[in-house]
Symmetry: C2
Subunit: 371 residues, 2 copies
């Protein structure tokens, strides 16, 4: 029996009906990816599950032509494992030869969350960029920039903000409202700056017209659609239509959304291994049965078990081992506590190693911020 | 008997009731100006007739402290005598020691009038900047810049556009609607960029906090009020409240608005003396009577006569001579044709001299555009 598909950004369960997705979102399921993608568990296990116009990127990779991966970060709260999906894609595309653009959305944080530019800068560096480096991002072929200070190259700075202003002519209020709901001037400028973020790599002052891929969470598609639509209305300069991929959110420990404002919902990359283990044991939603007897008899449900999800998305690279965990849990052979311990042990190794790399990152951080 | 005050931007008639003005517009009549202002006929004859917070500027002049005069130009159509009011104030304040900022509103022309940046650049240089130079603007203490390309100094460029984006947080839709009526995203970005135009001279990347005077036509006060209001809501950076003066528009030849799209409404600064004379004789609205006999008997009305207005605003510097013309016209001694000839002769001298200076301006134009 096919279960109902749950398509909350933070919850994936049931068997995904790709045809329904295509119809509802107007996006395409990811199929027939080159081997290099299949080696990455995010793609192989369909955490990144859909796309628009990815063929343009696949062609660039095949033909060894330049392309750009563009993404952004909202500099608020702690960097947690939920943020790793994008970070790992950055690193993946950088290894594939893409030039990586990362916008620190400090203007958006200012206008939509009343956070000062200074605080945004600190959080971006301390929480995000250091973790990117520790995860493997390289300073070559990379532009990390702040929306409030695009470049120390005046030609680039002028061009980026000019684009924000020119795009305004091709936008209308109704489409903003459709995406953002109640829209304020601050939100509107942020939205247009975000469109400029996605499109400006194609300006002559940057890379010139070039394929650009923007990996986003499935809930972010309206933003992308807005940038795609506006980009095709402006005639000068010309933009190659944006490509995009869509991923599910990593669920929070308790099963809902992973939220920076609730430490019991996430594992931060700066949590100690002990703290991570404590959180998993205390909070991680389990697909196990109420009693040991029931569990042994009826088996657990790995599809809703958060520990299993984390192993699947990030921490168990080996498909066979993952399949065995799945099978053993489902059969009742593997208990919830044991499953949690598998995750805690994997996480302990990861966090220890990561935090060592994070210390090293501090020494080279300056290389990673565009001047 | 006191006539009704007509306060169309392009029509001044009747005796101005300053108390009423203060009440309706919330602005102050200009009174007790220093002698240096009184020597300028724009101030002495109250073409520039009202202000907000001018005392801050008068104090700066008195104490020989730095101050800024900020203005903008919309790069469309021909530069005509109507544009001279602002140009003459630029030159006046520059001589008084002000640093002059001039924004070429090419983003606004793009968003509100669908004019390309290239066309705006050409028109700004050919029509506006060359005429400014010929009228006496100096390249020292001057920043003429394009909204679409603020500066070749990246710190300045980033700061100017950053301010546009930060100001958005402090604006709301209703006040935009009150000023601009039907508001589009393009108009909104232009409005915020205009606010940044007026305020950015006070950023640390430019002059730092400093008194700024913005001379505008009386119809432009809502824009100024918007910038004033928003500037006092933002706490970081801090802005000294803007000062402003208000002038009446120069009426068109036929008595209505002087419009760049109707050559029979204006004298362009590139019109030949012959062309100017022809236009005056053919189009200039006359305050004279229908017949010679009536005119001799009842006299003309200089207060509605366009030729007299032009002499008063620009071309007859000598108060005694102007008073004599006024008296002679009112008494019927001076005929309409004769009054028109006085203006045509004055204009011929001015245009001939101006157009010679305009040729010289071409050689030094590069010194006048901010890099």
């Amino acid at each position: 029996m096919k279960k109902d598909v749950v398509l909350n950004p933070w919850e994936v369960s049931g068997e995904i009906d790709y045809d329904k997705l295509i119809k509802e979102f107007g996006i395409q399921p990811i199929r027939d990816l080159p081997e290099i993608f299949e080696k990455n568990i995010l793609f192989r296990r369909k955490t990144v599950f859909a796309h628009r116009d990815i063929q343009r990127i696949l062609e660039a990779i095949r033909d060894k032509k330049p392309f750009v991966m563009m993404t952004g970060l909202m500099p608020t709260g702690k960097f947690h494992i939920g943020h790793m999906i994008l970070a790992q894609q950055m690193i993946f595309y950088q290894k594939l030869g893409a030039k990586i653009y990362v916008a620190v959305a400090d203007i958006e944080a200012y206008n939509a969350r009343a956070q000062s530019l200074e605080d945004s800068r600190k959080i971006a560096i301390e929480e995000y960029i250091k973790n990117y480096i520790a995860l493997g991002l390289k300073p070559e072929n990379l532009e990390i920039y702040f929306q409030s200070e695009r470049s120390s190259d005046a030609k680039k700075a002028n061009a980026y903000y000019r684009l924000q202003n020119l795009l305004a002519r091709y936008a209308n209020f109704n489409e903003f409202k459709a995406v953002y709901g109640d829209i304020s001037p601050g939100k509107m400028l942020s939205a247009l700056l975000q469109a400029s973020d996605m499109l400006h790599p194609q300006l002559e002052e940057f890379e010139g017209q070039i394929p650009v891929i923007v990996p986003v969470g499935i809930d972010q598609d309206p933003h992308l659609r807005l940038a795609r639509d506006i980009s095709q209305r402006i005639k000068n300069p010309k933009f190659t239509q944006l490509s995009s991929t869509y991923h599910f959110f990593v669920p929070g420990l308790k099963g809902g959304k992973m939220s920076s404002s609730d430490p019991s919902s996430y594992i931060a990359l700066t949590d100690t291994p002990e703290e991570a283990e404590r959180k998993i044991k205390k909070y991680a939603f389990s697909g196990g049965r109420d009693t040991l007897e029931e569990h042994r008899k009826l088996g657990g449900n790995p599809d809703v078990d958060i520990s299993f999800q984390y192993l699947k998305i990030f921490f168990e690279q080996d498909d066979k081992k993952l399949a065995k965990i799945y099978k053993d849990y489902k059969s009742g052979k593997l208990l919830s506590g044991e499953l949690k311990q598998i995750l805690a042990d994997k996480l302990a190794v990861f966090l220890k190693e990561h935090q060592k790399k994070r210390k090293d990152a501090e020494k080279i951080i300056d290389k990673f911020i565009s001047k």
